[in-house]
């Protein structure tokens, strides 16, 4: 049955959920027929059933998770397992991810790679996987509870700290900066902003003029930067808690004909292009592609009874004009790294 559910179709089914107002009957009918057909063929040839990995990501809109999905698929293809995607149609929706967990359990994947939409609210969901005896790899955002084979993530605080230090060095250790924060209440945002502020402590001649929220949104970051440019005639550096906001800030600088060095976090393709074009100074990241690969690889290693550490913290890269080339390759053409190159014992 799972042979019939490759990545693309899982994506299609999630969008179909949101199309139901228009062609609900038709879509459900087709989906039911396809599922029925799949189920039948699957039952007839159980010996050909491959291992399957269910990948849970937070939304369809953030390019970062698209990278994770592409990388996870690359690893799955390489390791000859099936990958099934579960993506909430409402961004980061807690109830939707919860019901997707229930759906997944009925299909009983061999293992789960899980990015929780919320570190606390999804604990009951993880416990459902535990109760069903499905091994879970916790990827990117640490869940506050539940049993995991491994947590694999990026230290957001260290990423922000390293990237901010790079900026301040390029500013020769002096000047005025502003911080564009992400969404209040998000733990990623809190870690990144404290990383930025820790770096400020090391550079006493760098002055923080303002730290204002852009909610992780490009449009709002643009608007907030426009406002801050009005308030502060001299801004030398802008630290944004994600790439989309950094790029929004750059649009505001361009429109106002002002110059400042800008850094972001995430290492998205668009940000790498902006680094290449000399518009963005740097973007800090634990390579999303590596994370997507490693999550799936860890799940498969566990299924093969190979050792997986309880915790894997990914290496950090501050992509800048001297080293962006490594990330400047379309994801579809990139290869997963060797397990041993990331996890060293």
């Amino acid at each position: 049955m799972l042979n019939c559910m490759p990545d693309e179709r899982a994506l299609y089914m999630t969008s179909a959920g949101s199309l139901k107002f228009a062609f609900n009957g038709l879509v459900l009918l087709i989906a039911a027929l396809v599922l029925a057909a799949c189920g039948e063929s699957g039952n007839k040839s159980p010996e050909t059933t491959r291992e399957s990995v269910a990948l849970f990501t937070k939304n369809q809109t953030n390019p970062y998770f698209q990278t994770i999905r592409v990388a996870a698929q690359a690893a799955a293809t390489e390791l000859n397992v099936d990958l099934v995607n579960y993506i909430p149609t409402s961004n980061d929706s807690i109830p939707e991810q919860m019901s997707q967990i229930e759906d997944a359990i009925t299909k009983h994947p061999s293992a789960v790679v899980f990015v929780p939409v919320d570190s606390k609210a999804m604990i009951p969901g993880v416990e459902k996987f535990n109760a069903a005896g499905i091994p879970v790899i916790n990827l990117i955002d640490r869940s506050d509870g539940g049993e995991f084979v491994s947590f694999m993530g990026c230290d957001d605080y260290a990423v922000a700290l390293n990237t901010a230090r790079y900026l301040f060095e390029k500013m020769n250790g002096k000047g005025n900066v502003i911080i564009i924060e992400g969404q209040g209440g998000s733990s990623n945002n809190q870690k990144r902003v404290s990383g930025f502020k820790k770096a400020l402590e090391d550079f006493p001649s760098v002055k923080l003029l303002a730290s204002q929220t852009g909610n992780f949104q490009r449009a709002m970051a643009l608007q907030v930067t426009e406002n801050l440019l009005q308030a502060h005639p001299q801004i030398d550096g802008i630290l944004a808690a994600n790439d989309a906001m950094a790029l929004g800030a750059i649009e505001a600088l361009d429109a106002a004909n002002r110059k400042a060095l800008v850094i972001g976090v995430n290492g998205t393709k668009e940000a790498i292009d902006a680094v290449k074009a000399g518009k963005l100074l740097a973007t800090g990241d634990c390579d999303g592609f590596v994370q997507g690969c490693m999550g799936t690889m860890a799940a498969v290693r566990h299924l093969k009874n190979l050792p997986v550490p309880k915790e894997v913290i990914f290496p950090i890269t501050v992509f800048n004009s001297t080293n962006y080339q490594g990330a400047d390759v379309p994801y579809e053409q990139r290869m997963c790294p060797k397990w041993e190159s990331i996890v060293k014992n």
Binding site: A22, A210, A219
Partner: protein, 306 residues
Amino acid sequence: MKYRLIGVALIVLALGLSSHAFATPSNLLNVLRQASLIFLSASGLTLVIVGAGLDLSVGANLGLSACFAAAAIKATGTLSSGFAAGVACGIAVGLLNGLMVTKLRVPPFIATYGMLWMLYGVNYWYMKGDTIYGFPPDFRALGSGDLLGVPIPVYLMTIGLLAGGIFTRYTTYGHEVYAIGANAEAARLSGIPVGSRLILLYTLSGAMAGLAGVIYLARLNSAEAGIGSPLLLPAIAAVLIGGTSLFGGSGGLAGTLIGAIILTLVLNGMNLLGINSNWQPLVTGVIILIAALIDSVTRRHAELHA
């Protein structure tokens, strides 16, 4: 209308006194540029609400239109194709909304809420998590450029305001919209073709969302599937803060402009004053409520003494 201006005046006065950067020509133009984008996305919606309808799909429509416009510009290399694709997408969505509400008699909230999800679905499928970015400077000028020192979106807003004002005040169509909003049944009995007028309103709302999508694209220099979702509530809020009644029959575009300016001033003021990010949602809420309160108190006072 004039009572709402009191709220704006008080906010402007308070900010002028507390921040030296506020009452400068460049910041006031900055506020107008930001307000004009909210206004454009809320202008068609205002007329729909005057007609006692509702369009919850404006944000999603704006987002899809921006993505289609971005793809069209990338595919053809011409700016007019992007413009056409964005506005055509907006019009098509608006027309579908209008047909659902009138011909299929789906309540406006549900019809346009369903449409919102369909548009997200189409957009997620179409964009597949990607971002389309990097547009020519002459296109970007539409969103971030100036003409004679005034931001270009402000001109578009002025055109929208004047055209909308003439439509609502001096055309039979415009009068009919208010009549339908006040009492659709009475309007029908007096011979107004209610269905076709409503279809026109929803189409107009879609067209303006599509246009706003193109302007947002030019301003952001990029389009991603999630671009429109944070823009729905501010658009509705601008309409309602501006005094247009959710029950229809009263209000108008000038009010929506005031609503958009109030929303913009709140963020501008908080940024200029450096209010802690954690307090900003609370401050936003309090100021919106105070603006509404000033409006209702002064209005009641005026009615008592009229």
